[in-house]
Each structure stands twice: as C-alpha cells, then as structure tokens.
Subunit: 143 residues, 2 copies
Amino acid sequence: MQKARNILGDLERAVIEHLWAAPHTSSGVTVREVHDAVGVDRGLAYTTLMTVLDRMTKKGLVSRQRDGRAWRYTAASSREALTSETMHHTLGELAGDERRGALLHFLGSSSPEEVDELRSALADLEARQQPADVSGGRSGRPA
Amino acid sequence: MQKARNILGDLERAVIEHLWAAPHTSSGVTVREVHDAVGVDRGLAYTTLMTVLDRMTKKGLVSRQRDGRAWRYTAASSREALTSETMHHTLGELAGDERRGALLHFLGSSSPEEVDELRSALADLEARQQPADVSGGRSGRPA
DNA sequence: GCCTTCTACGACGCATCGTAGTATTGCGGG
DNA sequence: CCCGCAATACTACGATGCGTCGTAGAAGGC
C-alpha cells in the first residue's frame, strides 16, 4: 500500500504558486489572502481554500504558524527545490545503468538553452567543490 | 483543462516493467503472459490485466498488434524515454530563470555518481554534435 | 457440438481532490 | 456582560482515476 505519486493537484498548484509569489519577508499568508488571490476569480468559497491549505499542510507541502487565531501559511519548499525533488524522484526509480540512458535521453530531448543551463549549473557546482580534482570524478564531499 | 499528471499507477508500473523486460525481438506480449508474470503472484484475475492493458493502450502507454485473435502488447516508449519525458514535464512547468535554479538544486542534491553520469552524458552529446565548437556554448542547431 | 481462449463492456470499492456547509471558538464593541 | 463577526474545525458530497472482477459473445480445437 504505497500511494502518493501525485505531487500536486490543480488548485493546489495554484495555491502554492501564490505562496511562492509572496515575499519571503512576510511571516506567511492567511487563508483569506490566498482566497482573495486565487479563490475569488475562480468563484471558490473561502472554506474551499481553507480545506485545501489544511490538506496541503498534512501532506507537508506547506507549513503554518499561528498569528492570533489565524494561521499564516508558507510553502514548505521553494519551487526550485520541489521541482528538483520531483525530478530526483522520477530518476530514482531507475537502476544505475538505466539512469545514464535516461539522462542521455533527457539531454537529447532538451533544447539548447536547457543544455546550456545545465552545463553552467554543472560548472557552478564544480567550482564550488574541489577546483583541483577535475580529472577522474568521484568528487569527495557528498551532500 | 490540462490533466494527466499521473503518469503511472501501481499495477500499471508493474505491467510496463514486465513489457520493458521482454525481449524487443518478440512482436509483443500477450495478456496471458503478462498475467502469468505479474498477475498470478498478486492473485489477480486474467481479466484485470486485460482491462489494465486496454486502458494503458488508450492512454498511449503501450501499443498492440493483432496476433490471431489475441493482442500482442509492447511498451510505447522505453523506460529511459519515459523517465526523461517525465523529468522534462516536471521541469517544463518552470520559467527560464527558475529552471536554472531548479537545475542547480537538482545537481546539488544529486549523488556524486549522478553528477558524473550527467557530466559524461553531456560530454557524449557534445561530441555527437559539433566536435569543433566547445569554446563558448550556444551550440547552433535549434532542434 | 462442447470446451477453451480472447475480447468487449460494464460495474464496484476505495482514495484523492475540488467544493462547500455547519458547528465552534475567540475577540472586540456596546 | 453579552452579541455578533470572523476565522477555524469538522463533516460531507460529487467526480475521477485506478485496481479489481464478472458476464457475454466470438473464434477455434477436438
């Protein structure tokens, strides 16, 4: 009985989208604000957003903290982190040798821009680690 | 109305797993064979696998061809291709600048092995295109 | 002709998600 | 001190997807 392959629903997506858009400086967004932002134009009831936020909390997608008798919600992980995590999850289902093939496929069906982005991200990462050891790989420090 | 974020269910996963394991030389696998392979141990009825295969066909996950009065099923895309496609799908939901961040995240949370794999895959791809232009990037051919 | 093997089609149970109503609780104004 | 507003907590309902089967025919084999 392992479930939970659906990362995000449709409304959930819109909601977290809004949370991501909120300034990190704030201590979070109230249900009312989320409703005003993504609920009203869709003609949704306040309680709908409440339920959704509540369920997302239980799933660990968002976190919240008290503010008076209201909750203030924030996204649990950044958009980039969630995307990365999802991609890892997808890739993680493959055995090592298949991963290479999948990555090759991935690159092959990427646009030149994406490849560039990846290349530069790789360079960034490399620079951040051991600027010396570029020869064989197996760069030490994990995590 | 964009749906279809669930790529694979649970049984579906097992089924396509079996199809992937089948020799490509064969012209496909019958329901009977799939049932024997992944259905019997789970105590599933023959018809269950029939339905699942049928639905997967309608979703384009597998393809089939007649063989007498039976169908022979084959996976529509390779495991690697499907994985790659899913990853692209995930990444594709981001805007350009966020993609970079996501990729950085992705690399940052990858094991050294994965980074190596990616690096070598990138090198492969590069070699396959313009063996000359390695200097600046912006590899011409826009797909 | 009867038994087997397949396909087609419909059905049911359960989980998830979008959606919302009702009950409850706490704070501030009169 | 009590009322009502606002926000939360609790519960519910319909749609859809998926796993699971059953039944009804069609096509052959003996």
